[in-house]
């Protein structure tokens, strides 16, 4: 595998903390995301990975800390504003538009990045996105499903669509929360292949939370290990694999 990464940080996460009542879900988390890399985020269930994503993408307001995109502090921006400026995401549980076709799901995901709101009112309904969207559908091998209602797809296909929606707008960084969660073994290889492909060929930068160790170790250039809301360590897959602390978190605690 070619893992080419240059060293310019696109996203800078600093001291993010979030408390729910007496539960410190995220505790002073900092890391950088470098352009062109796949950054894995792992950790036992309930260690705050999804909460961290919600803080970074604006669904939750963190108690403390900031996130910078290309040197601009976006901590006070609304989720749609962050999305429009290149921070895309998926949620841990499947989130697609079930009553819309696969094609429309992807167009929705792409359209807000084009033109101003006023111009969008007067643009053709397809907004010239047809080619781009169909390419992506083709790559995800869903061409025969393009006009199918998303709600009628199999779970694995829906999961793939969800991921595609985060990436169709070519975001600066895509945050994927368990893209392989619940996906069966046959589809799994497919998901892995698509993500690698998007990274290698399109230079997509991604932060991926994943439970499936094999999956994430194969994909990520770098991994952040979280435990009880804190960053336990950060390193290459090999470093992480061989770190005694990580072994303890996974075998000891839970």
């Amino acid at each position: 595998m070619t893992k080419t990464v240059d060293n310019e940080p696109v996203v800078r996460v600093r001291n993010i903390s979030k408390r729910f009542g007496g539960n410190q879900a995220v505790d002073d988390v900092s890391f950088d995301v470098t352009k062109g890399e796949i950054l894995g985020v792992i950790g036992p269930n309930g260690c705050g990975k999804s909460t961290l994503f919600n803080c970074l993408l604006g669904q939750y307001r963190p108690d403390n800390g900031s996130i910078e995109l290309d040197g601009i502090d976006v901590s006070d921006w609304s989720p749609p504003r962050r999305a429009k400026h290149g921070l895309a995401r998926t949620f841990q549980l499947l989130q697609i538009f079930e009553t819309m076709s696969v094609r429309d799901n992807l167009k929705t995901a792409a359209q807000e990045h084009i033109g101003s709101a006023a111009r969008r009112l007067f643009m053709r309904p397809d907004m010239g996105l047809d080619g781009e969207v169909d390419d992506l559908i083709e790559r995800f091998r869903m061409a025969h499903l393009a006009d199918e209602l998303a709600g009628n797809l199999s779970y694995g296909q829906q999961k793939l669509l969800d991921t595609a929606m985060a990436l169709v707008s070519k975001p600066a960084v895509a945050f994927l929360d368990e893209p392989a969660g619940g996906v069966n073994l046959t589809m799994l290889a497919d998901v892995e292949q698509q993500i690698r492909d998007l990274n290698v060929h399109d230079g997509a930068t991604m932060v991926i939370v994943e439970h499936n160790m094999e999956f994430i170790f194969a994909l990520a250039h770098r991994i952040v290990v979280m435990a009880e809301g804190r960053v336990l360590m950060e390193g290459t897959p090999d470093e992480v694999r061989n770190d005694p602390r990580v072994v303890e978190v996974y075998l000891g605690g839970h």
Binding site: F20, G21, N23, G46, S50, N54, L57, G58, Q59, Y60, R61, S78, P79, P80, R81, A83, K84, A88, R89, F91, Q92, L93, Q95, I96, F97, E98, T99, M100, D104, K107, T108, A109, Q111, E112, H113, A117, R120, L121, F122, M123, P125, M127, G151, M165, S169, D177
Partner: protein, 419 residues
């Protein structure tokens, strides 16, 4: 509260993973409304049929004649074809456009030989139809309940009438000379005033998700009524204003006689339908649909939920305002009572009964509250009771409204045909 802009409410404090889901309560019901949000001339044909049925009802004023009988048959035929031919095929497209053209032709030719009283009813249908079209944009497409369409109708009426009288008014001790603008010029003014006001009240109400817009618009309606009723120097209070109909000519034709004025209302109805159709088929329509389907996901993809919803509300209110300008000339006398909340209830029932989130639904609903209501006039004020009961029963057996039910029926027939 301050922190909940677009933030999913943490409902499951037990810490289950469902917390990570954005916004469950807000996911719209997944009622299988076929081709929701698309122009569906077959439905419009259905409306024409309804109109024709009303026109031939023996108790009515219009009376039966051969032309209407022929019309009735051809509409039946059209509806039949519409049910049978799949929408997405080329034939289906053709059927759609023929149906639309038929509807337009019907509405255009209908006044020939009709009495003034019938045309008053139909004029009212066209104007109220436009209000319901606007309300449906807010409620059916943007997914927010506004309880102020009657208030905006009133604001539109008073704005237009006051600017068309050239009289002196006194507000809060200040006396102002109002201009005497041509009637036509006051229509866009009424629209813009209503849009601005709706942005003003909608912006804070739509900051957080929930039924806040319904509450705020209800309060707004009461406030508008109070102002209209009590600002004597401006609105002449409960005495009302007799509306002068003296300056509405197009190409030298006096548009004010009942038959001609019907065309003004009809044009405005077509205008409203076109505006909503345009919005719904544009990328905005896709965004609105995405918001109804899963607003948390939409927001995370860059769809500004608040702005889109606000625009849907503002355009809907603006259409009600413009309708108010026409309504004032239709009824020739405006008073605060006409714009009270009970009028909104009529609009609301019409929107729901016709079918939320469809283009033809408002027409069906609009005809229910004007034309059918007129035939139920012998029941006195009881018609609201019957109508309310009808809507309640319908919400139980066919929650997608008449237009939605028709769509479902068509889907059912086509499934039979296919297999």
């Amino acid at each position: 509260m301050a922190e909940s802009v677009n933030v999913p409410q943490s409902k499951a404090a037990d810490g289950s993973d469902a917390l990570d889901q954005p916004d469950f309560e807000n996911r719209r019901d997944k009622i299988a409304i076929v081709d929701r949000g698309r122009l569906s001339p077959s439905l419009i044909a259905l409306v024409s049929m309804l109109g024709a049925a009303v026109a031939v009802m023996p108790v009515g004023r219009a009376g039966f004649d051969g032309v209407i009988g022929l019309w009735f048959l051809s509409v039946l035929l059209l509806v039949g074809v519409n049910v049978a031919v799949p929408l997405d095929t080329r034939n289906g497209q053709m059927v759609r456009w023929i149906s639309t053209a038929t509807f337009v032709a019907f509405m255009m030719l209908f006044p020939i030989g009709k009495s003034g009283a019938t045309m008053t009813d139909f004029g009212l249908f066209a104007i109220f139809g436009a209000v319901v079209v606007g309300m449906n944009l807010t409620q059916g497409f943007a997914g927010q309940v506004s309880l102020a369409p009657a208030a905006f109708l009133g604001i539109g009426s008073y704005t237009s009438v006051l600017l068309d009288m050239g009289e002196e008014v006194t507000v809060a001790g200040v006396t102002v000379d109002l201009p005497d603008l041509p009637f036509l010029a006051t229509i866009p003014i009424a629209i813009v005033v209503c849009m601005l006001l709706s942005v003003l009240i909608g912006f804070p109400a739509l900051r957080v998700r929930g039924p806040w817009l319904a509450f705020v618009t209800l309060a707004f309606s009461l406030l508008v009524f109070l102002v209209l009723n009590n600002e004597d120097g401006l609105t002449r209070g409960s005495r009302g204003i007799r509306v002068l109909r003296n300056d509405f000519e197009i190409f030298g034709i006096d548009m004010l006689p009942t038959h001609n004025f019907y065309y003004a209302g009809l044009f405005y109805l077509f205008f409203s339908l076109t505006v909503v159709w345009w919005i719904v088929r544009s990328p905005w329509g896709r965004a609105l649909k995405a918001i109804r389907d899963n607003s948390g996901r939409a927001s995370s993809l860059g769809v500004d939920v608040r702005n889109y919803t606000l625009l849907g509300f503002a355009v809907g209110s603006g259409l009600a305002g413009g309708a108010g300008a026409l309504y004032a000339r239709q009824v020739e006398y405006i008073e605060p009572r006409s714009y009270f909340v009970n009028q909104t209830i009529d609009f609301f029932l019409a929107t729901v009964a016709g079918g939320l989130g469809t283009l033809a639904g408002p027409l069906i609903g609009g005809s229910l509250i004007t034309l059918v209501a007129d035939y139920l006039r012998f029941t006195g004020d009881w018609y609201r009771v019957w109508f309310g009961l009808f809507v309640m029963v319908m919400m139980v057996v066919a929650p997608e409204g008449l237009a939605g039910s028709f769509n479902r029926f068509r889907a059912w027939v086509q499934k039979r045909v296919d297999s």
